[in-house]
Symmetry: C2
Subunit: 162 residues, 2 copies
Amino acid sequence: MSLPAVAVSQSPEAKFREYLASRPKPQRFTDQQRDMINYIFSQHDHFDAEQLIEDLKRDGLGVSRATVYRTLAKLVDAGLLRRLEFGPRMFYEHDYGYPQHEHLVCEKCEKKIEFQSAAIESVIRDVAQQHHFQASGHTFIIRGTCRECNQAKMTKRRLDLI
Amino acid sequence: MSLPAVAVSQSPEAKFREYLASRPKPQRFTDQQRDMINYIFSQHDHFDAEQLIEDLKRDGLGVSRATVYRTLAKLVDAGLLRRLEFGPRMFYEHDYGYPQHEHLVCEKCEKKIEFQSAAIESVIRDVAQQHHFQASGHTFIIRGTCRECNQAKMTKRRLDLI
DNA sequence: GGGTAATCGATAATAATTATCGATATTATA
DNA sequence: TATAATATCGATAATTATTATCGATTACCC
């Protein structure tokens, strides 16, 4: 699930405060934002808004649904989180301190496997240049069945034959 | 917008009827389905459910919202259409008679530019093999600004300086 | 043509996200 | 340090895309 981290000089909170300070109109740093950053950067995981709301509530940190969505948007804009379009709802993962990568997503168990690929970076560069397109981001997801779910299916098939 | 077509032996309608006939429980071919297939395959374009509903209505072919969604799902399952996850709503494009390709999507004007890349196919094969992952599909979208929107921005910037 | 059941259309429901707005809390200023 | 100005909060309503429901309609087999 995890790739080697990238060295960073600031804490996520410090980086976020810098982002807030750099906005044209001044933005405030609140307790809810601090709680969210502490929780999110205490582990590496893919998560969605609903999960985060439940997890924070379970930890006694109540942050309202609206504030969770608002703060996630700011964290993405600040470069702390990446936004992933897996199916109908958005997922989020660490961007700050974590290398660029792509995903394999299992359609059976929803597991996300990360991988890095220099080839993809170069395809993006080449294609963008060819079409005079100014690339600002990309989505690359491979959908299918993971090793474990494949084995489970194989085993079941073998059992069915008995 | 268009890549060279792929040779096919059947009309989209014939291919769809074959699909319906091959289902475990028999499915019926209706006037609404015929109207939708005729409309969709009379042009090559990326479209979403809402556009299609409006376009059909404008052409005097009234197909209800529910039926449009239901039939789109069947057309995808039959291999006639590909389903594209561009942002919050689904888009559709020809699959039958049209080669595999990926997209550049302009964030300013929503234009979709198609491109083919053998490198991506091989990345998918390699990564899947490495992780013993059974790949069934993928999404690859490069987001950014197209040539025209870039020029518009440049021109505006130049004018702003006067 | 007649019976059966898949499909249709109208509308209700769902799910994820965004907007609204009075209450609250952060930051600048006196 | 008190206070004023205003960004953010929480509760809830609204929005958007899509799916489910269900009685009416219609395609398909005999």
